[in-house]
């Protein structure tokens, strides 16, 4: 069942795992509820001369089906915490091997790379449009911004999504790609007539290839 | 006055909140008004405290202080509170069947309320002349920090409040006319009570606004 896109980042598998856990739990509940429903509809279908049983309720049942969902829900909530702070809290980001600045605008992604000095915000930085080049197996931190409307930085294969809100400073996200190859960057927040074509390409290189690409750019 | 609604056949309804329909309806309506002003005031608070610098009272305009006329508005606040007092006295009068007191104090409330609106309009004119608008003039924007934001929130909050007061004054006039026509009695004066509720609400909102916009 390959409905989910390829999982190509370090935390993608964890997010997928969370998805499947919830799928299994909700799937069981779904099948259970629908099966019981269909069973009751058949078994208690109206027949001549029958009367329904005059039952108003059951406190015991109420307690059982209040506590049980509550416990399951609390479990899912706790489990969800596994990856959320790690992905979203800048204080918990790993040390960045590469830092880039991504500026979203109608309708493109402008990506600024640190130049040979390895530092963003210096004179040797260079920018590329709609092309994100990163090394495999190394944490990449993206400093995200928007100069017009709200966009959303979405790389499905990495399972990362972060809104780019104009006026918000210090928006950051991170990911670490686990395999080389080419992936896609999409805009995931309606941003105008070109929203559907605000596409970027993500190139994950081996460390050597990335360094040679970097060198080529200067 | 009746505290339960009487239904066809002379039959009393189930006791609800033991408050007649008109009064209950006004309380319910005021609850929605609370939420409306909460939205506006909440937005102001978020914007102001997210904006960093703000034009504070007590600092001269040239040094980035507030362009608002605190003293005049303080007097206006006092007037509005007085009008709530006259409103209370109007209601108390008709509770005792005192028609003359009712009419006197209703007229007083109308006049004071109208004066409040008048002074607000005057203040708007002065501020506009100085360049303080929903979008500030360039000169003022250079002096007053976050002037556009200040203007946006100031005019929206006080403008909607002023609209509510103005509509209140119009309703008050109508109630006053009815009072002069002898439509209210000791037993039946719900209209006076509910316009009073509305009026006190509008006064309360103003006290909050005055505090967080002018004083803090």
């Amino acid at each position: 069942m390959d409905w989910l896109p390829i999982a190509a980042s370090t935390y993608a598998a964890e997010i997928d795992r969370m998805f499947y856990v919830i799928l299994v739990i909700t799937g069981i509940v779904f099948i259970g509820v629908e099966a019981v429903l269909v069973y009751f509809l058949i078994k208690y279908r109206g027949r001549e001369g029958r009367k329904a049983e005059y039952i108003e309720g059951s406190n015991k049942a109420e307690i059982i089906w209040t506590v049980t969902p509550a416990v399951i829900i609390i479990g899912i909530a706790f489990a969800s915490q596994s990856v959320w702070p790690d992905v979203k809290d800048p204080d918990r980001f790993p040390e960045a091997a590469l830092e880039v600045a991504v500026e979203a605008k109608q309708f493109e992604w402008n990506i600024t790379y640190p130049g040979p000095d390895g530092e963003l915000g210096t004179a040797d930085d260079f920018a590329r449009r709609n092309q994100l080049h990163v090394p495999v197996g190394a944490p990449v931190v993206v400093r995200l911004s928007s100069i017009d409307v709200i966009h959303s930085f979405f790389i499905p294969a990495f399972r990362i999504k972060q809104d780019a809100v104009p006026g918000m400073q210090n928006l950051q996200l991170w990911f670490e790609a686990t395999q080389t190859g080419e992936f896609e960057l999409a805009c995931a927040e309606l941003c105008g007539l070109g929203h559907y074509r605000m596409r970027g390409r993500v190139f994950v290189h081996s460390q050597d290839e990335f360094e040679s690409w970097l060198a080529e750019q200067s | 006055m009746h505290d339960a609604v009487v239904m066809p056949g002379g039959i009393r309804a189930e006791p609800g909140m033991r408050v007649y329909n008109l009064k209950l309806g006004m309380w319910v309506f005021l609850a929605s008004e609370v939420m409306f002003f909460t939205g506006l005031i909440g937005a102001y608070i978020i914007l102001r405290f997210g904006a960093g610098e703000w034009a504070l009272p007590g600092i001269p305009l040239e040094e980035g202080g507030t362009p608002l006329a605190i003293q005049l508005t303080a007097f206006n606040t006092f007037l509005l509170i007085c009008s709530s007092v006259t409103m209370v006295k109007a209601f108390a009068s008709i509770e005792h069947g005192d028609q003359r007191g009712l009419r006197l104090f209703l007229v007083a409330t109308v006049l004071i309320g109208a004066t409040f609106v008048g002074i607000q309009v005057y203040e708007y004119m002065v501020l506009a002349h100085e360049g303080f608008l929903p979008r500030c003039s360039d000169e003022l924007a250079a002096i007053v920090p976050n002037c556009n934001l200040f203007g946006s929130t100031f005019y929206t909050m006080t403008g909607f409040h002023g609209t509510h007061v103005s509509l209140g004054v119009l309703c008050m006039i109508w109630v006053t006319v009815k009072a002069f026509r002898g439509k209210y009695t000791r037993e039946n004066h719900g209209g006076v009570e509910v316009i009073g509720l509305y009026w006190h609400f509008v006064d309360l909102v103003w006290i909050m606004l005055f505090t967080i916009v002018y004083l803090i």
Binding site: A52 | G9, A13
Partner: protein, 589 residues
């Protein structure tokens, strides 16, 4: 304005002078006529919303191909019938807008709160009949303005029904100016209409219940409408304030949501969703209440766990105020806030689950009659379960990182709003049609409509879960721009064809509805053998409702009671057999 003098005399109309057609049917103050006015108007808007959806699905199923019959559309929308991206964005926006504000919410509240509340409580009309009339007549201009926005220069709003700023606040970003402003003014009128309604419903339910109709003898339909009215009373003003600020940003140079002026785009989201989340409970709760009434009737059994059901409604309403941030998990807000919103969002699954189990308990050991309203109510339970369960995925903030703004969300929305609310609305329409019009809709065509709708509805919306799992974004004019989405073109086409068939399946409903007005079987007073007070008076219900105010002796769910031979027991029937009204003496009177 009504004064207390009016309350001192028996309510209802002591005078029966002949009212002209205009007073009686156009500017009526009779809650039943007003409810029927809303019904016709909102069925029209439901069709409009559906038509807009068909256009959306055309583009997604057959991208870039000329719309059949679309040659007549102006070049600003679809030159040579081929849809432009900006028109697509407007379609998506207006589909959501019409469906939420002009179809689902008013079909539940404007129609059934108005029609049912006085009838089910034993009251002659609402507390404020003239305000009630104005509630309809502010709704109509709201609808007209919203329709008009489709035809003005620049087109209708293209910022989504959620109109996020700054996209919506600055005309240059979308090319839409007047259209967005009309949207806002329309919503302001809508807010006024909603307010007038809420004040009426709440006051009437609190103050105008017949003797013996204690709060815990009210049907769940009334309970849910009561709680919904309170939610609307408190949430809609926030929306009104927000859209006014947006209008000011657009027109008079304020900068509430514009960062250039120190404003905050996120403020819009907070305001909108603080309204928006209670709004979605407004959209589902009345349907839940209606379904409870119909399930008990169809099972010939009391609703299981009546008190729990009431508390669940109240719990859902309360919790609904503290979950709004789950729409903003990926917005850049503090991750700690994300955690707290996740917890409250997960919590709200519990009262919803309680309701589903109680509905199952209602059917258990029943004697089920599969009439059309019952079929639709059963579908509600089955489909709402799916919609509710899918919500758990997005409640998990980590999973939401991936599925936010994908078709997983679209699937969820439509399972709860169509699978839930709309099936509930269909149940209500079939069930109370006889009380409105004195005739029954055709059972056969009702069942055909149900079977077709249920089938094509699931074929349309279930696959959207799969699209969402694949990362398919929302509001995308042409998914084929992305390689990772090209494999879904076949599924998009399948969904579109199912959607066209779903739309076509509504034809039997429309024909049945109108045909039955004139040729439907006369229904008599109580065709469903139900216990509610509305079934103790003639069909259609007469002006003034009850000749004499009834006295209530029991709750509304006494089906198959051991105390009587019949399998139903009306609320107002004293068990010594005669229906003499009791004049209620107030102590100290």
């Amino acid at each position: 304005m009504a004064t207390v003098e009016a309350a001192a005399v028996p309510l209802g109309h002591a005078h029966h002078e002949e009212m002209g057609f205009i007073r009686k049917y156009i500017f009526s103050t009779d809650h039943k006529i007003i409810g029927i006015q809303f019904l016709f108007t909102c069925l029209f808007f439901l069709a409009v919303g559906g038509l807009l959806a068909m256009l959306i699905r055309w583009q997604l199923g057959f991208p870039g191909q000329p719309i059949p019959g679309g040659g007549g559309l102006p070049d600003t929308m679809a030159p040579s019938g081929i849809m432009l991206p900006e028109f697509y964005n407007s379609l998506v926006t207006m589909h959501g807008t019409f469906m939420v504000f002009f179809a689902i919410m008013p079909l539940l509240v404007g129609v059934y709160a108005n029609f049912l509340i006085p009838l089910k409580l034993g009251a002659p009309d609402m507390a404020f009949p003239r305000l009630n009339m104005m509630s309809y007549w502010t709704f109509v201009p709201a609808g007209i303005l919203m329709l008009a926005s489709l035809f003005v220069e620049g087109g209708a709003s293209g910022a989504g029904w959620t109109v996020y700023a700054p996209l919506s606040a600055v005309p240059e970003y979308t090319g839409v100016s007047l259209g967005q402003q009309l949207w806002i003014v329309s919503i302001i009128f809508f807010a006024g209409s909603s307010l007038l309604g809420s004040v009426n419903y709440i006051t009437t339910i609190i103050n105008m219940r017949a003797p013996g109709m204690t709060l815990f003898r009210m049907p769940l339909s009334v309970w849910s409408l009561f709680v919904t009215a309170i939610l609307a009373l408190l949430a809609v003003p926030i929306l009104a304030g927000a859209v006014i600020m947006l209008l000011f940003d657009q027109t008079i140079g304020t900068t509430f949501f514009l960062p250039e002026g120190g404003g905050q785009p996120l403020l819009w989201q907070h305001l909108f969703w603080f309204f928006g989340h209670p709004e979605v409970y407004i959209l589902i709760l009345p349907a839940m209440g209606i379904v409870s009434d119909v399930l008990a009737n169809g099972s010939r059994k009391p609703i299981f766990g009546y008190h729990s059901m009431v508390f669940a409604i109240i719990a859902i309403a309360f919790l609904g105020w503290i979950v709004w941030g789950h729409h903003m998990f990926q917005s850049g807000m503090n991750p700690l806030l994300g955690t707290s919103f996740m917890i409250s969002t997960m919590a709200i699954a519990v009262p919803s689950a309680i309701k589903v189990f109680n509905w199952l308990g209602t059917i258990w050991r029943g004697n089920i009659q599969f009439h059309t309203p019952m079929l639709n109510s059963i579908a509600f339970v089955a489909m709402f379960t799916i919609g509710g369960l899918s919500g758990i995925f997005m409640a998990s903030n980590s999973v939401d990182i991936f599925i936010h703004d994908t078709y997983y969300i679209v699937a969820h929305i439509h399972y709860v709003l169509f699978g839930g609310s709309l099936f509930g609305i269909f149940a209500a329409i079939y069930f109370w049609y006889p009380k409105m019009f004195g005739r029954l809709m055709s059972e056969r065509w009702g069942k055909i409509h149900f079977a077709l709708t249920f089938t094509f509805y699931n074929l349309t919306f279930f696959p959207m879960h799969i699209l969402g799992m694949g990362g398919h974004m929302r509001r995308i004019y042409d998914p084929n721009q992305y390689e990772f989405l090209q494999r879904f073109q076949g599924m998009n086409k399948f969904i579109s064809i199912s959607a066209f068939l779903l739309f076509a399946s509504q034809i039997p409903f429309i024909v049945n509805f109108f045909w039955s007005l004139f040729r439907g079987k006369k229904s008599g007073m109580n065709p469903w053998r139900d216990n509610g007070l509305e079934w103790t008076i003639p069909s259609p219900a007469p002006h003034g409702n009850f000749e004499v105010t009834p006295t209530v002796y029991r709750g509304p769910y006494e089906f198959s009671s051991p105390e009587v031979e019949e399998d139903f027991l009306p609320q107002d029937l004293p068990l010594n057999g005669d229906r003499k009204p009791v004049r209620q003496q107030v102590p100290g009177d």
